[in-house]
């Protein structure tokens, strides 16, 4: 069952077309990985899936992106609600300059959730993000005191706390060491029971390890302007992409990596 | 810059004046007119106040000291101690006007005694309403305005009206800026204040001067009454003091002062003061001649 679908999506920054003609479905309770060389528009596409691109001046989307069948760019859709339902974790851990507890409680508060016990909600979010044991004694301390990997898990916990349906992750491990990376990968696999996860990564092994499906993007010169623009080359089961890709460019990219 | 126009006698050098801010516009006007004649001479006019001016004057720092009152004994002594000889010149007359809002329709004349009752230190906090001055006046709150404590005008007024320099009630609104006083008086129903006649002339739409009775009946402040001495005690002369050595040794100083007296009526008119009487001019010329 597809939760998010993109049909013929172009994303522009002003006049510059960063992504062209992407059509793909993202399935519920699966991890989908987006891979491809730098600048091919992975982050751009990801941000357009939950309207984070609205925050970038001049960015706009054509084509259709639906969430549970509804066009998220329809005029009567509130971007705020979209973002609450489709959460996002960023490349660099970005905890708020608040205590660990307040980092988690912030989301539920601003969206007006009224949990019977905020403490329980914080504990559960941290537990799901496999962070509870490490921080339970210092909930009132600043989140900046955590290590990079812990901060990233905090950001995941924060996202879980507002009960989204989809979690977008943009290179969530690139700032982390292998051990922290492993923990987050384990976490992703665990979370996909309940959430749909879409992840951008440069790390081919990571995609191979965690993703159910993988999409390979690359940047090609635009037919009309000649500027380079991101296109979807191939989208398939992860094993297929890594073992027996249909497209030569996918093969080159993947084998180049393993060369 | 600015020089090189028609040259009088081609004098140059500096003439340094300091002192009363009341008299400064007069000396500035003189300097202004003088520049047309002797563009090479730099006349500077600073305003350290009458006392501050004398301090510098007696230290030999200035050629001319503007003063809104005669030099005091201790100031003269300071000059003597530094070997500074000087000459006093009267350069214009000024009337201290007693001022009410233009809209005031009940006061036309105040006696010196009434003024003393209004302004005396003893009245502080006690005389607060016009009908305490004269029962025929309405029960309107007195709002008093006057120059700040640093001016020659303040010294002069307190001495003439309250008998001692600096003796005055402290609950009036002082300002060193006469325009501010005009604003204040015109805006207060029971406003009353005192300052130079020139500010009354220029603000006739906002304030008016009342007559003053110095014992010989009500006299309006005017050019004539100030010049002929009937506007007592608030008519007063304005002075400049000249360093004798400067006058005899610096041709530009001599030339400037001669010009000052020569053109006094034009200068007084420019600065909106009252010119000298023929008699006063003769005295001044004689003083200057005696300096050589």
């Amino acid at each position: 069952m597809s939760v998010i679908t993109a049909s013929n999506v172009d994303v522009f920054y002003g006049k510059f077309r960063a992504v062209t003609g992407v059509t793909m479905d993202f399935n519920a309770n699966e991890i989908t990985a987006l891979i491809g060389p730098s600048g091919c528009g992975k982050s751009t596409l990801l941000r357009s899936l939950n309207r984070m691109n609205d925050l970038v001046d001049g960015a706009h989307v054509t084509g259709e992106i639906t969430f549970n069948g509804e066009n998220i760019y329809a005029p009567d859709v509130d971007a705020i609600e979209v973002r609450r339902r489709i959460g996002m974790v960023f490349q660099k851990p970005n905890p708020f300059p608040k205590s660990i507890y307040d980092n988690i409680a912030y989301g539920p508060k601003v969206i007006g959730m009224k949990p019977s016990s905020m403490d329980d909600l914080v504990e559960e979010a941290l537990t799901r993000a496999a962070l509870w044991d490490e921080v339970k004694d210092k909930l009132k301390q600043s989140a900046f005191g955590l290590s990079g990997g812990q901060q990233q898990r905090l950001c995941i916990a924060r996202t879980i706390a507002v009960k989204p349906e989809v979690i977008l992750m943009d290179e969530p491990c690139s700032a982390l060491d292998p051990i922290a990376t492993m923990r987050i990968e384990d976490l992703m696999v665990e979370l996909k029971q309940d959430y749909t996860i879409i992840i951008v990564t440069h790390n081919m092994q990571q995609a191979a390890r965690v993703a159910d499906k993988t999409a390979f993007f690359t940047a090609l010169p635009d037919e009309t302007t000649g500027n380079r623009t991101g296109v979807l080359v191939e989208y398939n089961e992860t094993t297929k992409i890594f073992e027996n890709p249909d497209d030569q460019r996918t093969e080159d990219y993947i084998s180049g990596r393993f060369g | 810059g600015g020089q090189g126009a028609t040259n009088g006698t081609g004098l140059n050098g500096a003439v340094v004046a300091d002192g009363s801010s009341t008299v400064a516009p007069l000396t500035e006007a003189a300097a202004d007119l003088f520049r047309d004649v002797e563009p090479g001479v730099n006349v500077t006019v600073a305003t350290s106040g009458t006392g501050g001016g004398f301090e510098k004057f007696c230290a030999g720092e200035t050629d001319i000291s503007n003063a809104s009152r005669p030099i005091k004994e201790e100031e003269a002594a300071a000059c003597a101690a530094n070997g500074i000889e000087f000459t006093e010149l009267i350069v214009a007359n000024d009337g201290l006007a007693v001022v009410v809002p233009a809209a005031n329709d009940f006061v036309t004349c105040l006696t010196v005694d009434q003024l003393g009752k209004i302004w005396g230190p003893a009245s502080e906090g006690k005389i607060n309403s016009w009908n305490q001055i004269d029962p025929s006046f309405p029960n309107t709150k007195l709002a008093l305005f006057g120059p700040g404590t640093d001016s020659g005008t303040f010294d002069y007024f307190t001495k003439e009206i309250n008998g001692e320099e600096g003796a005055i009630r402290t609950d009036y609104s002082p300002s060193e800026d006469d325009n501010v006083l005009v604003q204040g008086i015109s805006g207060a129903e029971g406003g009353l204040g005192f300052f130079g006649l020139s500010y009354v002339t220029e603000n006739a739409d906002k304030v008016r001067a009342v007559d003053v009775d110095g014992g010989k009946g009500c006299v309006a402040a005017s050019e004539a009454s100030v010049q002929d001495g009937t506007y007592t005690p608030l008519g007063r002369p304005l002075f400049v003091y000249v360093n004798n050595a400067s006058y005899s040794e610096k041709p530009q100083v001599k030339s400037f002062l001669d010009f000052y007296i020569e053109k006094q009526s034009e200068i007084a008119e420019l600065a909106i003061f009252i010119g000298l009487t023929a008699e006063q001019v003769a005295v001044a010329k004689k003083e200057l001649e005696s300096l050589g």
């Binding site: 509804e70 859709v77 509130d78 601003v110 706390a161 | 500035e28 202004d32």
Partner: protein, 303 residues
């Protein structure tokens, strides 16, 4: 481990259509934005009224005579020439005194002082404190210092420039420090890793990169000094100057003082003149700010 009752499995939660309660267009958000708009608009409206009324009042005398003539007792013939020149000269000397000193001190504090040494922390704290001292205190300080040195003539360009220099020195130091701090540490490390000495790194990498910040901050500080009247009044700056200032020891007047003096005159024409001179002063400020913007745009580097 507790069961995840309150988070649990995420069921479909209905439509994303319609305005969320805390959405971008909720009444609260819109009210908030209106308040912000209003504060900006009101602040600007007030300031623009101020400028426009000044402009209207001064416009009759906004002519070349204002720039070329000396002050005079006849308002129709008076101009602000010596005041304009005086302002420019005082500011030029202020810049000359304060820029090298302030930049050097800023460099020392930011780049070379060892913050573990208590005296360096004292200097830092001291600079912060000096930046908050009112201008009039610097006027009194200069007056007192000159009296103590036995200088009699305090209304000379050098004294005015000294008071204003003291006033803006701490600001220049702080601006320098901030601009240096804004240069990414990678640049510094990259240079040092090539075998450049710390000073070479400073002069060839860090300072060129901080030029926009230092220049903009310094010009803003200087334009503040340009509008100051209080400390110069305390030093007895002249009000009637019939000559162009011609050096450090020359008497002078400045535009703010000339304006203050003219507004104090009885004749309405002088008030008009004062308004016109205010416009000239604003034009000078504008010119200095334009220079700052040009420098900022020309030298600005993106990291």
């Amino acid at each position: 481990m507790k069961p995840f009752t309150s988070i649990g499995k995420i069921a479909a939660q209905g439509s994303v259509r319609g305005r969320a309660k805390g959405g971008e267009y909720s009444p609260k958000s819109i009210a908030f934005l209106l308040i912000l708009w209003a504060s900006l608009a009101l602040a600007f409206a007030f300031l623009i009224t101020l400028i426009v009324t000044t402009f209207i009042e001064g416009s009759p005398r906004l002519n070349s005579m204002l720039l070329t003539e000396f002050p005079a007792s006849r308002p129709t013939q008076a101009g602000a020439r010596p005041a304009i020149l005086g302002s420019m000269m005082v500011i030029a000397f202020t810049a000359l005194f304060t820029l090298p000193l302030g930049i050097a001190a800023g460099i020392h504090l930011e780049a070379f002082s060892d913050r573990k040494k208590w005296w360096n922390r004292v200097i830092e704290l001291n600079v912060q404190n000096l930046a908050a001292v009112p201008s009039i205190v610097y006027g009194l300080l200069t007056l007192g210092a000159l009296s103590a040195l036995g200088v009699k003539d305090k209304n000379i360009v050098a004294a005015g420039a000294m008071a204003l220099s003291l006033l803006i020195l701490p600001v220049i130091i702080i601006v320098t420090r901030e601009s240096i701090r804004a240069v990414p540490d990678e640049i510094r490390q990259g240079s040092l890793a090539l075998g450049a000495t710390p000073l070479q790194t400073l002069f060839r990498q860090i300072l060129p990169s901080s030029v926009p910040g230092i220049a903009t901050g310094s010009i803003l500080a200087l334009s503040r000094a340009l509008g100051e009247a209080a400390p110069l009044l305390i030093l007895g700056a002249l009000v009637f100057v019939s000559f162009d200032p011609n050096g450090l020891l020359s008497g002078y007047t400045t535009l703010p003082i000339q304006i203050f003096n003219w507004t104090g005159r009885p004749q309405e024409e002088f008030h008009i003149l004062a308004a016109a001179a205010s416009i000239v002063l604003l034009a000078l400020l504008l010119a200095m700010n334009a220079i700052a913007i040009v420098i900022r745009n020309r030298f600005q580097k993106r990291w």
